[in-house]
């Protein structure tokens, strides 16, 4: 049993284990709020998470939803396109293990209190194809559905265990975010009917997975209508290719995450200038952090050519004060926004 669970039990002896039905509303009605003062939050996943950094809707929504009683929230987007539970995409010159090490390092550095995890779409989309290069399981990932799911859940468990280990006692909450359904936009874009059936199965498996890990979970698949999609063409799509969300789509998705976590249903008004400016600041902070934690030119800065241009790596920590400056401004704007809303 991971030490994390033990720790939770010691800290919250009366904590009610969250229970979620597979298809039903899974809003966490826990007595314990998700966010606490000064929480460090991390988003971990594939392209869905990574692209969220570019528009800031998710972070703005959650930051506002946390309410005026919580202050000093800080978010880091650690999403990486094409990632899997084995962290394939995070490795550069090595095997997926290198990717796990890279994630481990940033988790150990950031020491998040709350981690959002989003994986599974890559499995639903890859029937009969390997979705990971992890040597031990690549073949199974391309094999029968049961085998593919088995190695997905095993990998996910190892990922959660590793995050718990690296974050240490700081980690209080893990949130398993089920991928949203894939949209059928009509030919020539692909028909996702079968992929959504598989996605439903991924969701079912994740329900048990979240429970076993005593993690909160958000069933975006159900909330965003995945169970009711029968291959029909979506009239008002939230994605531009069936998989990737539009700006409008991210606003909707952010709401669903917020609602799924049991936050009050008042969603941000992104046309409001204060909210807009807050979101812009968040995007700028995300941009700076991107250059800080996964800078370009890693080959020269930190990897096998660092003996040539590694001296330039000294610039990388110089992003820290810039990020901090943005975060101070973000906190100020968030307070203003919450104050304004309280008055209204």
């Amino acid at each position: 049993m991971p030490s994390f669970l033990l720790y939770l039990k010691l800290l919250f002896p009366t904590w009610v284990v969250l229970s979620c039905s597979v298809t039903g509303d899974c809003r966490a009605k826990s007595a314990v709020p998700l966010f606490q003062n000064g929480d460090r939050v991390a988003f971990v996943g594939g392209g869905l998470m990574e692209r969220a950094r570019l528009n800031g809707f998710l972070e703005t929504t959650l930051s506002k939803a946390a309410g005026a009683e919580v202050s000093g929230l800080r978010f880091r987007n650690l999403g990486w396109s094409g990632d899997t539970v084995y962290n394939d995409a995070r490795s550069y010159f090595g095997k997926p293990q290198e990717g796990r090490d890279r994630l481990g390092r940033i988790i150990a550095e950031w020491k998040p209190n709350v981690v959002f995890l989003n994986y599974g779409a890559e499995v639903a989309l890859s029937e009969g194809m390997p979705w990971t290069d992890e040597p031990e399981v690549k073949k199974q990932s391309a094999g029968k559905w049961e085998d593919s799911m088995k190695v997905f859940l095993e990998g996910y468990q190892k990922l959660v265990d590793a995050i718990q280990k690296k974050a240490g006692d700081n980690l209080r909450e893990v949130v398993v975010v089920v991928p949203p359904p894939l949209e059928n936009l009509g030919p020539p874009l692909p028909d996702h009917q079968n992929s959504n059936i598989r996605m439903g199965k991924v969701r079912d498996a994740l329900a048990g997975f979240a429970k076993r890990n005593q993690a909160r979970w958000v069933d975006l698949f159900a909330q965003m209508g995945g169970d009711k999609m029968n291959g029909k063409i979506i009239p008002n799509p939230l994605t531009h290719d069936g998989l990737h969300f539009t700006d409008f789509g991210y606003q909707e998705l952010a709401k669903h995450v917020s609602h799924g976590l049991g936050f009050p249903p008042e969603d941000p008004d992104f046309s409001d200038s204060l909210t807009h400016n807050l979101r812009k600041k968040i995007i700028e902070k995300n941009r700076l952090f991107f250059h800080r934690w996964r800078p370009a030119n890693e080959t020269y800065l930190f990897l096998f050519r660092k003996h040539e241009q590694g001296n330039n790596a000294k610039e990388i920590p110089q992003f820290d004060p810039l990020i901090k400056k943005q975060e101070t401004a973000i906190e100020k704007m968030r307070n203003q926004l919450l104050k304004k809303e309280a008055i209204n």
């Binding site: 392209g47 396109s81 550069y92 989309l125 998989l243 030119n297 020269y300 096998f304 040539e308 610039e315």
Partner: protein, 1144 residues
């Protein structure tokens, strides 16, 4: 020799007092005029400035839109964003509204980008590479600026900012093509699942389906891609050196990670190229049309190439230079034909290129300037151009099918994609097609609308022209994977037996897309009854692997060969590296059905890699039955490798190998002896000891005997070795060999014996070999360090040791210190202060003489030539230096000579593999399989290493170039050497031109063995077949000349000297071919085969008409027969259909 290493440095100290003048801070004149004055143009061409800073800065890539406007991306941010810096790189649209060849309007479309390396207008907006993403930007309100932004692809790696996704282009079939370079590891989230490409390669992407797929893999910096008129793809490489590369689906090229096989480019020895375009259209003179133009950005010039058909692929020949410049900041990195028929060149404008070897923040790096140049031919009218954006449906259809201007068809294809498909299909179908090209273009147009006209594509596969058949197959290829069509198998089946190997290649490529159990057995037919080149062979090999499960499962179910022949089975099984059908094939050897040496080697190697112990036993049995030395060697070698790499032995009795201890062939004997050792056959011991005791045993036998004794191990071996080492009768070199063996079993004792031996190094003996043996094993290094604690070494030995240790990939610091102490040496200081560097640069510029420098460069003891090529010829261990002077700053060159490890060229990093027994292997990884890694060492030798023996595999920060090579030079010699390198690739004598000199020669060594018939045959004797001739490589100078004083005197007969060289040429057809001989022609005798070629006497130049009685490759032998001939000679091919062969 004493303290030689320090001489050079004391001279540097004296230089430091010179006033620092220019050196590091001198940058070229940034004015437009300075650049204009520096251009060198071909006849009839004119160059003018189309646009420059501040409108465009550091342009990287450009493409035209359907309105005839040029979209350019540039990056002042390159190479790396600074903390606090905005993402502020731009996409700029340039327009020439007046038709005077100068951009008079510009719009900044976007100004918030991060190192954009690709731009492609289309689909109502523009696709832009933005580091890890590809964006689609659009102007929705008509103000000319992007206000809508969408990430269309994400997950591109960013490990190196000159490798990030680049080289965008619309294909004729309406897909977007994009490339990435070697360090990039890409993981795209797509609606079809994740697509990965680790390392270099090329993608295609269809925006309307959002499908992205990998087309080919490899190449270091594939910065150029173009389609020829039949839609075939060609690529260039900005770090590889093979000129034009013909690429096709699933092809794999240099540097693709983990690849077990790679294809070659078409022009080995070419400089690094960036960008690629087909020169075309009515404006440019006929002799330029259809040439492929690619900028040599290091050499400040644009090179061109011409293609012709060859086998399943192409031959590419270097053609004329389109443009050259003497300006050090002119960096052509993209070239595109423009709508007016002129040639447009993007000039990054930078005295400094790339950022691996030059600091990110080097102040000489330019972040301000940038130019777009336009090359036109004023005598010709501009090409006709109507904006495709303004064309009505019928006009657009006509442009697509009939325009003879490539640029018009390209832009029309992009425009087509934005039009109503129904209307466009109507227009396209209403036009009459006159020839195959028109048909191909209509097929592409339908494909660009994502509505492939399959009927017409199938019809194309039946055309008379092989090019059209191939184009039809390629069109079908893209759609075949989507499984929308049936009955494609029969098309592929017909294609694999096509008379044209090129069509077969595409037949196999199509098969690879199909989901049928028969794909492999059909593909194998492509290898029958045509000459199979590497490209076709690779395609079939590749499908055997990719579709492995299909045929292997069937083979296992059936239990017999499902293919037409055993040869096919052998090919397929070797391809997947599994011993399927091995029993049948071995039986065929036993009953004499397979007898050729080549096939025997193939089978033996395959069994060695994949066979079972029972299979190996069959090899041992077969070895007993043959009298062919080559076949005996094949079997023994296979068993040896199986033992070394896979640790397996034949299943039965091993004693029969003892038979070969009687062999007179050294190779067979040595291989058998090594096997006996590894198999621990004690009965061999006496024979081995005898070999070692006899003073006249050959070195190769000695080495094998020691290896075998070591492998047997035990007290007997230990005792015998030490006795021999202690025996005063045994010579130094033999002792050295014995100690190298002893290292493996008793490192401490070996260190003691070695220290004693080196302490009294006999006159004229080299300690290198022995010291290297200690350095290349971890345990031995430790033992030597310990032994040196209490011992002294002669200064000269310690110095050699230090040099070796300094350049060892493991760089054993403790050993370096121990050697220093043991030899009472001062620390070796290799780096220069800034002041010293400036003084030295000044000296290179004022006093360096490149001609003298070339002679220094070519000195045998410097070994430059052994590792580095200049252009086509020379070693391949280090980077090609063909344009190093034009690309690298002087300080970089000096630094690289003094401290080779400080800056290491991309692709030349040393891999360091450490084995369980402490041995280390360093070099480049040549190939890799599940069980082994093949690593090429400094001497060019390929070492096979068992993966299971490896404890660590890392990239060493140490260059393979030995430290201290230049230490033996006098100061003026060093200055000359640097000057020579500075001039390499710059306009002038030291730039390799397009003249086709014979550059790669072989020479006979000094006092070469000969048949002794010189009195009878005269110089012709050297053209005779004779086993004793040991030809050694010899290369021409950069200018093509062969200096007489460097050619060894092969025979000195009563003062009459003979210097002998030979080179290879290939005649495309028989008959007379013209060659030109230049230089000092007295005393030269030239032979084609054994037929003498008459050389007119007198003069410094002679054009020779040589009668080639048959086509194909043949040797030319040159015998220089004149005492003390001075000067040089050069031999050049003039006839178009005579090729000089300068590559291996």
């Amino acid at each position: 020799m004493k303290k030689a290493a320090f001489l050079f440095f004391s001279f540097l100290l004296s230089l430091a007092h010179l006033p620092a003048q220019r050196g590091l801070t001198r940058i070229p004149d940034t004015s437009i005029k300075a650049q204009l004055d520096a251009f060198i143009l071909p006849e009839g061409a004119k160059i003018n400035l189309f646009a420059s800073e501040p409108v465009v800065r550091n342009p990287i890539h450009m493409n035209w839109d359907a309105q005839g406007r040029l979209w350019v991306v540039g990056s002042p941010l390159y190479p790396h964003i600074k903390p606090g810096q905005e993402e502020s790189d731009q996409v700029v649209i340039l327009e020439d509204t007046t038709g005077d060849g100068v951009a008079d309007q510009h719009t900044v479309f976007a100004d918030d980008l991060h190192i954009p390396t690709g731009v492609l207008p289309g689909d109502g907006g523009v696709y832009v590479a933005n580091s890890n993403n590809v964006l689609f930007l659009k102007d929705t309100n008509g103000d000319g600026k992007a206000d809508h932004r969408k990430v269309v692809l994400s997950g591109f790696g960013t490990e190196d900012t000159h490798h990030i996704v680049h080289t965008f282009r619309w294909g004729p079939e309406g897909m977007m093509w994009l490339n990435q370079s070697i360090y990039i590891h890409t993981h795209l989230d797509t609606p079809y699942g994740i697509r990965r490409l680790l390392g270099g390669g090329m993608w295609h992407y269809r925006p309307e389906t959002r499908r992205s797929e990998v087309f080919m893999k490899g190449l270091v910096n594939p910065w150029g891609h173009v389609f020829d008129q039949w839609g075939q793809s060609f690529m260039t490489d900005g770090a590889g050196g093979q000129g034009i590369n013909f690429v096709y689906p699933r092809s794999v090229f240099v540097a693709s990670p983990g690849a077990s096989r790679r294809l070659q480019g078409l022009n080995p020895g070419q400089p690094k190229l960036c960008g690629l375009e087909v020169l075309s259209g009515s404006h440019i003179p006929v002799h330029w049309r259809e040439a492929l133009a690619s900028p040599d950005f290091r050499g400040h010039r644009i090179k061109t190439y011409r293609l012709s058909n060859k086998g399943s692929a192409y031959e590419s020949r270097e053609y004329k230079e389109l443009l050259a410049s003497r300006h050090g900041a002119f960096r052509p990195i993209d070239v595109k034909m423009g709508p007016d028929g002129a040639i447009y060149v993007a000039d990054l404008y930078n005295p400094i290129i790339q950022h691996g070897e030059v600091d990110f923040r080097d102040p000489r790096r330019d972040h301000k300037h940038g130019r777009i140049w336009r090359i036109s031919f004023p005598e010709n009218p501009p090409a006709p151009f109507t904006k495709p954006a303004n064309m009505k449906a019928m006009a657009l259809a006509e442009a697509l099918l009939f325009s003879e201007e490539n640029i018009v068809r390209e832009l029309a294809t992009a425009e087509l994609r934005t039009r109503n498909p129904g209307k466009m299909l109507l227009a396209l179908n209403s036009l009459k097609l006159e020839d195959d090209l028109h048909k191909v273009r209509r097929v592409w147009a339908t494909q660009a609308l994502n509505r492939l006209d399959m009927g017409l594509a199938k019809q194309l596969t039946q055309s008379k022209s092989p090019k059209a058949r191939a184009a039809g197959l390629r069109a079908i290829y893209y759609d075949a994977a989507n499984k929308k069509y049936k009955n494609l198998l029969s098309i592929a089946e017909e294609a694999v037996s096509d008379p044209s190997p090129h069509v077969r290649l595409w037949g196999v490529s199509l098969l690879a897309q199909l989901d049928d159990p028969q794909t492999v057995s059909i593909a194998l037919r492509a290898l029958e009854s045509v000459e199979v080149d590497d490209f076709l062979d690779f395609a079939v090999w590749s499908i055997c692997r990719e579709h492995r499960d299909r045929w292997v499962n069937e083979m296992k179910t059936r239990g017999e060969n499902q293919f037409n022949s055993l040869t096919q089975l052998l090919f397929a099984s070797s391809a997947i590296g599994e011993p399927l059908g091995a029993d049948q094939i071995l039986a065929s050897i036993a009953n004499g059905k397979i007898m050729e040496d080549k096939q025997i080697w193939e089978v033996a190697n395959w069994i060695s890699n994949k066979g079972s112990p029972a299979h190996l036993q069959k090899l041992l049995d077969l070895s007993q039955q043959t009298n062919s030395v080559s076949q005996q060697h094949a079997y023994l070698n296979a068993m040896l490798n199986a033992r070394k790499i896979r640790k397996i032995n034949p299943s039965g009795s091993l004693e029969t190998v003892m038979k070969f201890l009687q062999s007179e062939n050294d190779t067979v004997w040595s291989t058998a002896v090594e096997l006996a050792g590894l198999w621990k056959l004690d009965s061999a011991r006496t024979s081995l000891e005898t070999t070692l005791k006899q003073t006249d045993s050959k070195q190769v036998r000695r080495k094998a005997a020691i290896n075998a004794l070591i492998a047997m191990g035990g007290e007997k071996t230990r005792k015998f070795l030490d006795q021999q080492i202690q025996n005063p009768q045994v010579s130094y070199s033999q002792k050295s060999t014995l100690i190298k063996g002893q290292i493996k079993i008793q490192p401490m004792l070996a260190a003691r014996r070695a220290t004693a031996l080196l302490g009294n190094l006999p006159e004229g003996q080299e300690p290198n070999d022995l010291i290297s043996a200690f350095i290349s094993n971890k345990g031995a290094t430790q033992a030597l360090i310990k032994e040196l604690e209490n011992s002294k070494l002669p200064e000269v030995v310690a110095l050699k040791g230090m040099q070796l240790a300094e350049s060892a990939p493991t760089r054993p610091q403790a050993l370096i210190e121990a050697l220093q102490k043991a030899g009472d040496l001062k620390p070796m200081m290799m780096s220069l202060s800034k002041k010293e560097m400036i003084a030295l640069i000044d000296r290179v510029k004022s006093q360096g003489n490149a001609t003298r420098g070339e002679a220094v460069y070519r000195r045998e003891n410097l070994q430059c030539v052994a590792c580095h090529a200049i252009g086509e010829v020379g070693g391949v261990i280090g980077p090609n230096l063909v344009s190093i002077g034009a690309s690298a700053p002087v300080d970089y060159l000096i630094e690289s000579l003094l401290e080779p490890s400080k800056k290491i060229k991309e692709g030349y990093h040393t891999n360091l593999i450490t084995l369980k027994n402490g041995d280390s292997h360093a070099g480049g990884i040549m190939s890799e399989t599940d069980t082994e890694v093949v690593i090429r060492d400094l001497t060019g030798r390929h070492n096979r290493v068992a993966k299971r023996d490896i404890t660590s595999q890392t990239i060493s920060p140490v260059s393979l170039m030995p430290v201290g090579l230049t230490a033996q030079l006098r100061e003026d010699e060093f200055v000359d050497l640097v000057r020579f390198m500075v001039e390499l690739g710059k306009e002038g004598k030291f730039k390799t031109g397009t003249q086709r000199f014979a550059r790669k020669w072989d020479v006979l060594p000094v006092n070469s063995a000969n048949p002794g018939t010189i009195h009878h045959y005269g110089a012709k004797m050297f053209t005779l077949e004779f086993d004793g001739y040991e030809w050694q490589p010899f290369y021409a100078m950069v200018g093509g000349g062969i200096p007489f004083d460097e050619i060894p005197v092969a025979l000195n007969r009563r003062g009459e000297k003979y210097q002998v060289l030979r080179t290879q040429v290939e005649a495309v057809k028989r008959g007379n071919h013209k060659m030109r001989l230049k230089g000092n022609l007295g005393g030269l005798n030239l032979f084609l085969g054994n037929q003498e070629v008459e050389i007119p006497s007198g003069g410094e130049q002679a054009d020779l008409l040589i009668d080639f009685k048959q086509p194909g490759k043949q040797s030319l032998v040159m015998v220089v027969n004149g005492a003390g001939t001075k000067g040089y000679f050069a031999l050049e091919a003039l006839s178009e259909d005579l090729r000089v062969i300068n590559t291996l």
